[in-house]
Symmetry: C2
Subunit: 308 residues, 2 copies
């Protein structure tokens, strides 16, 4: 491709698609590039792939083996698009198909992705930093690992919060903007390994309907670090608390005081998803332990999921 | 804009976004145009709208009043994109902002959108038919109203199925391809008016994690009309039935025999979302009646939701 891509066409499933949700904000805000989360079945079932000639095609897949994801990259190459794979397994059909491969090197052994998720977030962040060529944002990203370690040290506090969650069978996870993908990712972990039917929502979208479900004792996770979308969070938290929901808040915003607060270190909003996902992963782990589930062997799942 | 748009940037919230999910398949399959479901907060909160110069910008909003949706159209105009509004209220800020306005004329009075949803599906379908200029697909679309009426006549049968759903507090709605948006829309109705925490999933995505949650008696709606994505449905239905889930299937596919089947008329897959949503809307209505809820006045919701 000669010109700068007009848009990114990004595909992934499960946790990988949640990295894609992050990429919509990251590439939008830092590079001004619109990101379409693609529809693999247009390629594999409808056999009518859209016109990708002016797109960069990015595929994210832990195993690099799902045929539908590979077929999007193959079609992108056929059309002459720039193709990029982000995968834990570069020696895979996906790694072979893409022109550029970012190996995330998590070597994840468990079924439910956690390291791969974080590393894939980091990979797409590094890509944005490099394209933008801006040292100040590189430094912001480099500060993330220390903040992630800090949150890992709060495990006991999260274990205590988990007790209120372990007895229920449904929940919500709310976030917006950069942390919309985090809400999806934590909800997915709660479903995969805790068998808790957790529903992710944008905190804006939530007010367009789902808020009707909220009732006393319903567990709700609110992911609300300081940033461009945090203005509405205090009133949303008031409303949820007013309904009697059991709210757990992941934040570094001093204005948020209702519910149980998991305080995270200050960080730039665009880097915050690397940090905010950690308490959610720990929450899932502790709920598992409380329920007597082995989080590394959830029922009904295999490590490599092949979809067509 | 002089050239054909390279992609569509589409925004909507709630039911309107579900129409957008349909548009991803419709405009992809019929016109080869990639559709990005946009991120309004990039415009209103991050103040970094992406480059839309080679996009057609489509906004879908029943009320035409949500400031975040309007701001995407306004930015599209500023950048010189083609801008289109699909709205029940052309005499609104959104109607004023867009160059082209498709008024869906549902004049919907209830809070939870049903006619507006169907009419918006029809509006985007007509747009695709006109752009493609193909009389044979126009005839396929014109056959839809009769098939919708047919399903409306099956209300008693759906009422019977609703009894098994009314006592639960969680559920799944599964669909894929053209009916991925239908799964989202029916799940939204079940949340909005039945307070049932229904979770929409692509039937492919479902196998990447959420399937772990399935247990005996869990209500699952499977939207599986015949079409390009129906190959996997018989084995998925076997698997769900094998887990003891209470499965309700909306289909015209003779191969699907487990669970409770709501048989719909034969129709082209691309038109099927107009038909398949009707049993879901009836399901929500009957659950409401069984629970003693007034479906026109769900708690916690107002007709016009303004988000920024």
């Amino acid at each position: 491709m000669k010109r700068r891509p007009r848009f990114v066409y990004l595909v992934g499933r499960g946790s990988s698609e949640n990295v894609g949700r992050y990429a919509q904000y990251l590439l939008g805000e830092k590079l001004g590039i619109p990101v379409a989360l693609g529809n693999p079945s247009l390629f594999t079932h409808y056999l009518r792939p859209p016109d990708l000639k002016e797109a960069a095609v990015i595929a994210i897949s832990q195993s690099g083996q799902s045929p539908d994801i590979c077929s999007v990259i193959e079609e992108g190459r056929r059309q002459g698009s720039l193709t990029v794979a982000i995968t834990d397994n570069p020696d895979s059909p996906l790694g072979d198909a893409a022109q550029q491969v970012l190996a995330v090197r998590a070597k994840e052994g468990t079924v439910a992705a956690t390291q791969t998720y974080s590393n894939s977030l980091a990979a797409i962040s590094l890509l944005a930093v490099c394209i933008r060529g801006d040292k100040s944002i590189a430094a912001e990203l480099e500060a993330a690992p220390e903040k992630m370690s800090d949150v890992l040290g709060r495990s006991d506090e999260i274990e205590e919060a988990a007790r209120k969650w372990a007895s229920g069978d449904r929940a919500f996870a709310l976030g917006r903007g950069y942390n919309y993908g985090t809400a999806h990712e934590i909800a997915l972990k709660l479903k995969e390994v805790c068998y808790l039917l957790a529903h992710p929502y944008s905190s804006a979208e939530f007010l367009h309907g789902p808020v009707a479900v909220v009732e006393k004792g319903l567990p709700i996770l609110l992911i609300a670090p300081k940033g461009a979308v945090s203005g509405e969070m205090p009133s949303l938290l008031e409303r949820l608390d007013g309904c009697g929901a059991t709210v757990l808040v992941i934040t570094n915003d001093e204005r948020l005081k209702k519910g149980k607060i998991i305080r995270i270190p200050d960080c730039k909003e665009w880097v915050s998803p690397l940090v905010t996902v950690v308490p959610g992963q720990l929450l899932a782990l502790h709920i598992c332990n409380l329920k007597g589930i082995n989080p590394d062997r959830p029922r009904g799942l295999e490590k490599v999921t092949r979809t067509w």
